[in-house]
């Protein structure tokens, strides 16, 4: 038996099909993954993401600490509530994890890291935090729901009142607020507008039921995966890991190179790779019928070989899509070995889909 989120019995009661995910019993779907996918693209769906690790970092030197710990630059966070996506690197420039950090107050940042990497992340963060006298607290007392879709905000707001309603209504994209004991962020992992809400574990069930009553449908991790893939968002452990750098993972934009005087873990390794990485992460669209899968071999005749890191079927586009790590010189097309046959795929720049609309020409 795996670990259970506080919504475990609720998932079962709502028909969730539970599977193991990084040691957690999580709903993969509540019937149809594709219907849940469309639900999020066209209306509003909600995900239990309580398995993710919420970490509060506190202390007078917390900003200085994060400036050293993260490849992206927390100096970009000037307004309270603002969120930043970043990789946390090892000295070799490999990705230990990707995360989001919210600037709450000058002595408090809240960070969310992946579930599968929880133990190593916590050990790494604690080790690095010592020198900065930063307190590191995993908030196992909190649960988290992601509500995503074009109608996600309106429907979520309909369940709120008073100060929370006012603060959540006013939230700009990529900001968080915590007017009382509920934390609401306008962030997500689907390419749609919406909220991520953190609330104490003993109150999450009533929130989930209230959201459900407001017309927000429960969605499983299956749809979450196809949604994030369409949105061109990497999945840690699949699209990047400790052996790949952000430069080889389509995440060059998350590296805070400026100012050049800022030291952060992995900087030296990245500097030497900068401008001469020989691989890159791209999007693929399959031209024929079939489904792209993780680890399928990719080749570009005359250039070299690569591999699909995340492959699936895009319910929005009705085509198979993938993220693939390919030689840097790859241009517009490549071939993928699909069930023993080399077939053509178009190389595109992710995202494939944002805010319900295709971003690529099929």
């Amino acid at each position: 038996m795996g670990k259970r989120t506080p919504l475990h019995s609720t998932h079962l009661a709502m028909g969730g099909k539970l599977v193991d995910f990084a040691g957690w019993d999580m709903p993969i779907n509540y019937g149809s993954q594709i219907e849940e996918h469309h639900q999020v693209r066209t209306d509003a769906g909600m995900f239990d993401v309580s398995h993710m690790t919420i970490v509060d970092l506190r202390g007078p030197r917390v900003r200085e600490f994060l400036s050293y710990l993260l490849a992206n630059n927390v100096e970009r966070l000037t307004q309270p509530g603002k969120a930043l996506y970043s990789c946390m690197l090892n000295e070799q420039g490999g990705v230990i994890d990707d995360l989001i950090t919210y600037f709450m107050r000058e002595n408090w940042f809240r960070t969310v890291v992946n579930a599968a990497t929880r133990d190593k992340d916590m050990a790494w963060i604690r080790r690095q935090a010592k020198a900065f006298e930063v307190g590191v607290e995993a908030r196992s007392d909190l649960a988290m729901i992601a509500v995503q879709g074009p109608n996600a905000r309106a429907k979520t707001l309909s369940t709120m009142d008073n100060g929370l309603l006012k603060a959540a209504t006013a939230l700009e994209p990529f900001f968080a607020t915590k007017p009382g004991d509920i934390f609401v962020a306008r962030t997500g992992y689907t390419g749609e507008d919406g909220f991520e809400i953190m609330i104490s574990s003993d109150r999450v069930q009533s929130l989930w039921l209230a959201l459900s009553k407001a017309g927000i449908k429960p969605c499983g991790l299956g749809a979450r995966d196809t949604l994030r893939l369409e949105a061109g968002m990497n999945l840690y452990g699949t699209d990047m890991d400790e052996t790949t750098s952000p430069l080889e993972s389509g995440l060059g934009w998350t590296i805070g190179w400026e100012p050049s005087t800022r030291e952060f873990i992995g900087r030296q390794a990245l500097e030497s790779q900068r401008g001469n990485a020989n691989r890159k992460l791209v999007g693929l669209v399959l031209q024929e019928k079939g489904v792209l899968r993780n680890h399928l071999p990719v080749r570009v005749v005359g250039v070299g070989e690569g591999e699909i890191t995340s492959g699936s079927f895009s319910p929005t586009l009705g085509r198979a899509i993938a993220l693939a790590r390919v030689p840097l010189a790859t241009t517009n097309t490549c071939q993928v070995e699909l069930r023993g046959k080399w077939v053509a795929a178009t190389v595109v720049k992710p995202p494939f889909v944002r805010n319900g609309k295709s971003c690529i020409t099929l």
Partner: protein, 131 residues
């Protein structure tokens, strides 16, 4: 609990066979199989006229989750394929024993079907497999 139909024969690889009076049979995958696979997005059916040997892979069904081979339940020749699955593979999820049929086969030997599982034996097989 997945559905089985008493008038069908089943295989341990989760195909079903419905014998018709004219010596042909329809083939599909069971309700249990479609449930395990999840939403189907692609079906590669055998072309009409192809000779199939019982137990050999003859079609592929792919869901968002996985690709799975379909094995010929009996030996024979493909006489029809379900063209609707090309655009609507989800018919297999919605109606695995009806509109979700994959192909029709003309049996080389009508008695071959007797070797397959009946609904009760197949249900027991599935129950045992999931434990």
């Amino acid at each position: 609990m997945s559905k089985t139909l008493a008038n069908l024969k089943y295989t341990k690889t989760h195909e079903w066979l419905e014998i018709h009076n004219d010596g042909t049979a329809s083939v599909g995958i069971s309700d249990h199989a479609q449930d395990l696979l999840g939403d189907l997005v692609y079906v590669e059916a055998p072309e009409a006229g192809r000779k199939l040997t019982a137990g050999n892979a003859c079609a592929v069904v792919e869901s968002v989750k996985a690709a799975s081979d379909v094995y010929a339940p009996v030996t024979g020749v493909v006489v029809a394929i379900n063209a609707a699955l090309s655009d609507s593979p989800e018919l297999i999820n919605k109606d695995p024993y009806g509109e979700g049929w994959i192909f029709k086969i003309k049996l080389a030997n009508a008695a071959d079907a007797n070797a397959l599982l009946d609904a009760k034996a197949y249900a027991e097989f599935c129950a045992a497999e999931s434990h």
